[in-house]
């Protein structure tokens, strides 16, 4: 189980092929919309989910993600955990630097995702990588 799992588990998705990335970002957008996030935030979240689920595919081959509604009386919140059993990220501080990539990408994925989200944490060792993101907004 995830280390930081509170809130209701709404969606659990397997990520093992290219179409799963499309599915994951559509599900994230839908859940964010149901929770009441603005269209701009829905887009931020869907984009972050797209980046992170692609990373699973590219670096680990497969994995899964869990989406949770963590809203409270005062706040709207969504938390998404990405988990895989791939080789792990050797140097996390390097991986979240702009322009750094080992996979032939732009190196904008992880640092970009971090900027889009309110919470962003990575724990990684060979055989287990967990990326946790969350977006939280005060209720209008």
């Amino acid at each position: 189980m995830s280390t930081a799992s509170h809130g209701r588990l709404d969606t659990q998705l397997c990520i093992a092929e290219s179409m799963d990335v499309v599915r994951a970002r559509a599900d994230a957008r839908q859940l964010a919309s149901m929770i009441g996030f603005s269209p701009a935030d829905q887009t931020r979240l869907a984009t972050a989910v797209s980046e992170l689920s692609r990373n699973i595919l590219q670096y680990a081959g497969k994995g899964h993600c869990e989406m949770r509604d963590i809203s409270t009386n005062d706040t709207l919140g969504i938390q998404i955990l990405f988990e895989d059993n791939g080789p792990g990220i050797p140097d996390i501080s390097l991986a979240i630097q702009d322009g750094y990539s080992t996979g032939g990408g732009l190196g904008a994925g992880l640092p970009g995702t971090k900027r889009l989200m309110d919470k962003f944490s990575i724990e990684s060792r060979p055989g287990l990588t967990r990326v946790n993101i969350a977006m939280v907004r005060r209720r209008a």
Binding site: R25, R29, P39, T47, S50, R54, L106, A108, P111, L116
Partner: protein, 128 residues
């Protein structure tokens, strides 16, 4: 899902109407390059109005496609980037879309015609 690439004289028009997987995006890129070379297109307009998410990978495919088209000799204009997509791209950092962008297809076609006319090396309306 294959993205249709339409032809108007020697201008090509590609409107992405569905959410693309990475594999779809790469196939689109190769279709565009092939089609440009096949008809020696002078320009191509790529409409991304329906893309609700453009992440760093998709941005790279769009940029690379535009660069490839330019290398072949075609002008490239991207149109219809959604406002939230633009916000997200900028927030993610740097120039994720380097191609020339306009609001809509009409402007894209106009911009292409202007740029092709400015080159002065080709007749737009002949199919040759």
């Amino acid at each position: 899902m294959r993205i249709p690439i339409l032809r108007i004289g020697r201008i090509l028009l590609a409107s992405i109407q569905v959410e693309m997987s990475d594999a779809d995006a790469l196939r689109f890129q190769s279709d565009v390059v092939q089609k440009i070379s096949e008809i020696e297109a002078l320009g191509i307009a790529i409409d991304i109005t329906s893309l609700e998410v453009v992440d760093s990978y998709m941005a790279r495919v769009i940029n690379d496609t535009a660069t490839m088209a330019r290398l072949l000799g075609a002008e490239v204009v991207v149109c219809g980037i959604q406002p939230y997509v633009a916000m997200t791209l900028v927030e993610m950092g740097r120039d994720l879309i380097g191609a020339n962008c306009v609001f809509d297809l009409e402007q894209a076609l106009q911009r292409l015609r202007e740029r092709i006319a400015a080159r002065g090396d080709a007749d737009l309306d002949t199919g040759s």
